[in-house]
């Protein structure tokens, strides 16, 4: 999978709630094959406080429109600046980066996302469904207003929600959802805050099913050149940007 540096054109920015938005961007050249779990490294221009690129998961790919969708949470200068882009603006990407989630077949798969960790799960759900799996996605959010894009997930399977304030779905964290005790799954995939992913990992270990997590890290390059993004694994330090971001929990020292 050849990595590219390319300009994209912003097609559309959609505000999901106060913090989150999606950015749909179109490539000028035909997109290469992009796997679920991969990410892009975005150059934030016209900003004094973003010297390095910003890594963002690929939220969705539309080959017909030749576009990629990003799901972004406003955190600091960089993401805030991205949240001001409008249709027609240019955006420079290094992509596609990183490895990918495994795609089993004919299995009962469980996807658990929290915060902006939900970003890669939509595209993963699509691939899982296409490979003949049964897909259940649990999104853990703070409040009903944060439960966005429900319909998109529905297209690929079942979508469940937990809210911290109980305003929608089960109250609590996604790993406290009743379905985890009521049903059994063959595979689990997760992305989100580390404590949540660790809870999912504990659940998977208990149930003795495979679990893949997507890690974040501080990245300078995103393609294996700087070694700034290591995570400890059972076989030594590994680069999150090339040997991850997706790791099987069995490889981690969790």
């Amino acid at each position: 999978m050849k990595k590219l540096v390319q300009d994209f054109e912003v097609l559309h920015r959609e505000e999901l709630n106060d913090e989150h938005f999606t950015l749909e961007i179109r490539a000028y050249e035909p997109l290469p094959e992009i796997k679920p779990g991969q990410f892009v490294n975005v150059l934030v221009e016209n900003s004094t406080q973003t010297f390095l690129r910003r890594p963002l998961s690929i939220h969705f790919v539309d080959y017909e429109k030749n576009s990629i969708k990003l799901y972004i949470k406003r955190i600091g200068e960089g993401t805030k600046k991205l949240g001001t882009l409008v249709s027609g603006d240019k955006l420079n990407l290094v992509f596609p980066l990183g490895n990918q989630y495994s795609i089993p077949s004919s299995s009962k798969t469980l996807l658990i996302g929290g915060g902006c960790g939900v970003a890669p799960l939509l595209y993963l759900a699509k691939h899982l469904k296409e490979a003949g799996n049964e897909v259940t996605t649990i999104l853990g959010v703070r409040s009903a207003i944060d439960a966005v894009e429900m319909d998109a997930y529905k297209a690929y399977g079942r979508i469940l929600v937990t809210t911290e304030d109980g305003s929608l779905g089960d109250k609590g964290y996604p790993t406290q959802h009743s379905i985890l005790t009521n049903e059994n799954f063959d595979y689990t995939f997760t992305c989100g805050p580390e404590p949540m992913m660790k809870a999912v990992a504990r659940y998977a270990k208990e149930k003795n099913i495979p679990c893949e997590v997507s890690l974040e890290n501080t990245m300078a390059c995103g393609f294996g050149a700087c070694l700034c993004c290591v995570t400890p694994t059972k076989t030594g330090n590994k680069c999150v940007c090339t040997e991850g971001p997706v790791f099987n929990i069995n490889d981690l020292t969790w």
């Binding site: 540096v5 390095l52 290094v94 890290n217 390059c221 393609f223 700087c226 290591v230």
Partner: protein
């Protein structure tokens, strides 16, 4: 046509643009982005006698117009380099230089003598200036005596081009440059990273696991240029200039200050194609300014 060839005391480069160690992996990481053979040379990762895991996470922090790193020379050791990596990368039709790092003089000697055996490695860059290693990596570069001693020892076992990479974290870099020149260094490269630190005011914690780390990027360019200029007036061997080069204009500035060649580091992370763009930009500058040979620009800063 303009002539970009550079001769660094026997080491000939097709153009003055090289990559900085630790920012260009083993070159392979850039195969997707550029044709590496178009560069004057590449400096591969800091290589040590033994395998090193490097420092714990987090290793990186962004700073105004720059970044701090605390990678800590993560590498699989020189044997692994010779057996596994070298065969994979020796096909490149450019100069491959190995950045040799160590904690003791014996380490440097061992590593350098093993690299000496590799046909397609015409030079090493002796890193006596890495700030991220506790056991003395930087100490060597911060006194004339210790800098001289390591160069002297390595010179005995290494008979190709010996480039010595200097630390900017010193009171008088030209003294160090003179000391390593006197021990037979063929060239000096400068600067390595400035020792810096970043803190997260909210969590009250340092942003790097090692608390301090190495500062690079455009923020250090004024310091790097000044040092190249100072060293240029102090020694007679060629200088390879680096520190914050982002484009051809920056590269020309280093050459005018006295650098015979340049290295590009941090910029590779932001634009993985920057190196070849700098080669083109230098060419364009030379044509526009009617400069035939790049060597005519070396140290050509005009002072009333």
């Amino acid at each position: 046509m303009v002539n970009l060839e550079v001769n660094l005391k026997g080491l000939s480069l097709k153009n003055p643009v090289m990559t900085a160690s630790g920012t260009f992996g083993y070159g392979e990481e850039f195969d997707d982005f550029i044709d590496i053979d178009r560069l004057g040379g590449i400096l591969v990762k800091g290589t040590t006698r033994h395998h090193r895991e490097g420092n714990p996470y987090p290793r990186m922090a962004e700073t105004p117009s720059g970044m701090l790193n605390a990678v800590g020379l993560q590498n699989k050791g020189v044997e692994n380099f010779c057996n596994d990596i070298y065969p994979r990368i020796k096909h490149y039709n450019t100069n491959i230089l190995v950045n040799v790092s160590g904690s003791t003089i014996e380490d440097y000697i061992e590593t350098a003598s093993m690299i000496n055996e590799l046909d397609r490695i015409p030079a090493i860059e002796l890193n006596i200036s890495c700030p991220n290693v506790k056991e003395g990596g930087m100490a060597f570069g911060t006194s004339c005596v210790s800098a001289a001693s390591v160069v002297k020892a390595v010179r005995k076992v290494y008979n190709k081009h010996l480039m010595v990479k200097l630390s900017p974290n010193v009171t008088d870099i030209s003294e160090i440059a003179k000391a390593v020149e006197a021990e037979g260094a063929d060239s000096v490269s400068l600067i390595n990273t400035l020792l810096g630190m970043a803190i997260d005011a909210e969590s009250r914690r340092p942003l790097l696991s090692t608390i301090t780390g190495g500062l690079s990027g455009p923020c250090v360019k004024p310091v790097a240029l000044r040092m190249v200029w100072q060293v240029f007036r102090a020694i007679n061997i060629p200088i390879i200039g680096l520190g914050g080069i982002m484009n051809a204009k920056d590269a020309i500035e280093f050459i005018l200050a006295g650098a015979s060649a340049i290295q590009i580091g941090t910029a590779n992370f932001i634009d993985p194609q920057v190196t070849v763009k700098v080669v083109e930009g230098i060419k364009e500058y030379m044509i526009r300014h009617k400069v035939q040979n790049i060597s005519d620009l070396v140290g050509a800063l005009e002072i009333q």
